[in-house]
């Protein structure tokens, strides 16, 4: 009979050691624990410094990538409460339009309009979504997909906020350093903040609502209040991206509610691995630069882009981050089946 093998996955010794006091026993263990956190932070913080090497164009791509990463993080936070959102553009557009309006009509400086746009946009979205929070799964997704489209047509038809033209010649951000570092810091704060939040008791409740909302209700917890809070927090991240990009482009218009801002975060999350926050961020940092790099192909760009996306999703259905995480913590070996 032929010898058959089976794949076995085991935790690395260093992972087990790092779970208790031995983590402090040597530099190797400390490095093992800190590397996954320090490396991305260091990388993101050095990227803006490479302006001389990669050129201004790629620095601009970095800012856009950060905006999409923020939207992807906000998608993931909503998904961890069980709200599958197809309308991140709603957050982006609300933040963008409110910021643009404040700057255009009252000439407020950017350091006032961005915070106001962020909080106001998030509040607006939360109130807009309040009546549909009791919907689940696909039904919630459909509503969130429609809302940005609805708002676009509303602005177009009523000719408020500049109507078709949008609001242009808004005040610019001070300089390229400010643009890059604020965007990068926002991503880092959201990434680590959300990861911390979901591991707290508060986050346990959020995850509980995703897994089993009846059981959470019988635990005397008002699930709609928690869902609304989660939407607000996710809205802050999304609306900040919109508010920031408004001043970055010095323009706000219909494209703020574009389908791109809904679909890109979603694909980032799926590609990177949903439910980890790091995954969607990684996904955004792959997808957006990739799409820029493919511009050389002209019209065929979308074809290549889609093909790469399909290969990735089929090859790594769990998501890139889950794959890396597993390789980091575990090793595989073949065991003879007797």
């Amino acid at each position: 009979m032929a010898v058959r093998y089976r794949k076995e996955r085991l935790d690395r010794g260093i992972k087990a050691r790092c779970e208790d006091m031995f983590a402090l026993s040597s530099y190797r263990e400390m490095l093992y624990l800190s590397l996954p956190r320090v490396l991305p932070v260091a990388l993101l913080l050095t990227l803006p410094l490479l302006k001389g090497v990669v050129g201004l164009y790629w620095e601009k791509v970095l800012v856009i990538t950060c905006a999409i990463a923020l939207l992807a993080l906000s998608w993931d936070l909503m998904a961890s409460v069980g709200l599958v959102c197809l309308g991140q553009a709603l957050f982006f557009g609300s933040g963008a339009y409110l910021t643009g309006f404040l700057n255009h009509s009252f000439n407020l400086p950017y350091f006032l309009t961005i915070p106001c746009g962020t909080v106001g946009g998030a509040l607006f979205c939360t109130f807009l979504l309040l009546p549909v929070l009791r919907l689940r799964g696909v039904y919630f997704a459909i509503v969130t997909l429609t809302l940005p489209l609805l708002l676009t047509r509303f602005i177009e038809a009523s000719k408020i906020l500049g109507g078709n033209e949008g609001l242009s010649s808004l005040s610019p951000l001070p300089n390229i350093w400010f643009e890059c570092y604020v965007a990068v810091l926002a991503v880092l704060i959201c990434l680590f903040g959300f990861r911390r939040l979901i591991n707290e008791d508060y986050g346990l409740v959020l995850q509980g609502i995703r897994d089993n909302d009846l059981a959470v209700m019988s635990g005397a917890i008002n699930i709609y209040r928690f869902k609304a809070q989660a939407v607000f927090i996710a809205g802050l991240a999304g609306a900040f991206a919109g508010a920031f990009m408004t001043h970055y482009y010095q323009f706000v218009g219909m494209p703020a509610f574009a389908l791109d801002y809904s679909i890109l975060p979603l694909t980032s999350a799926v590609l990177g691995g949903a439910g980890t926050f790091a995954g969607p961020a990684v996904g955004a940092f792959i997808l957006v630069p990739l799409s820029e790099a493919l511009r050389a192909f002209g019209t065929l760009r979308v074809v290549f882009y889609s093909a790469i996306l399909i290969v990735c999703v089929v090859g790594l259905p769990e998501g890139i981050f889950h794959y890396i995480q597993r390789k980091y913590h575990q090793f595989e070996r073949l065991v003879e089946v007797r």
Binding site: Y202, V205, G208, S218, A220
Partner: protein
Amino acid sequence: MEDQIILKVEAVSKSFGGLLAVDKVSFHVEKGELLGIIGPNGSGKTTLVNLITGFVRPDSGKVFFRGSDITGKKPYSVAALGVARTFQMVKPFYQLPAFKNLIIPLYSPRVKKLRGGKYGERDDVAIDLLEEVGFERDSFVPYKVASSLPHGYLKRLELARCLALRSELLILDELFSGMSMSEVASTLPIIERLNGEGLTIIMVEHRLRELFRVADRVLALNFGSKIADGSAHEVMESEAVKAAYLGSEAES
């Protein structure tokens, strides 16, 4: 004696489509009492529990808890007032360790007000609660992921989740279904002790032998209507109950 009555159900009815699941059922529960609810399959026991705890709105009738009207209130509001329930089909958070399951009710405003408690302290309270329902404290059982626990433990986890709420009324919806004889034998004393400590309990149960041993009073349902209400002995002797369970002579 009005203040002795903790729960009063007045002629509640509920129909699903054409099926009358609960038909003008009235009863009351006194403080510290252990009321059993029995009835054949489909007689409306679980619907009655859902009506009391707010998971289903009654078509007509009223439910009072400690004198205040809780008819049609949301499940979390009813739970926040102090009515805890278990589910017949266990509903744990499968991906979480057993003790983390209890963090969710412990995080509720009701419990925060009653207990206080900060992060970390809640974990200790959770382990204490699990020990109370028979999880071995010094073993790895409380730390195991819920999906890897046997059914009997999951049922007791449901019980612990209710105890976490420090409720005044505990409704057990077929706690013993799917439990082995030894698991039932070890859980029954827990319920007796809780009742002895003054907790009011409603037990919906199919295991009549165990129920009759602990229940102060038993209510029998059939086709959504109340057919008997009295001591265990009275209900057992009732002709209507015998007919419901075994079929009446005319039918056989």
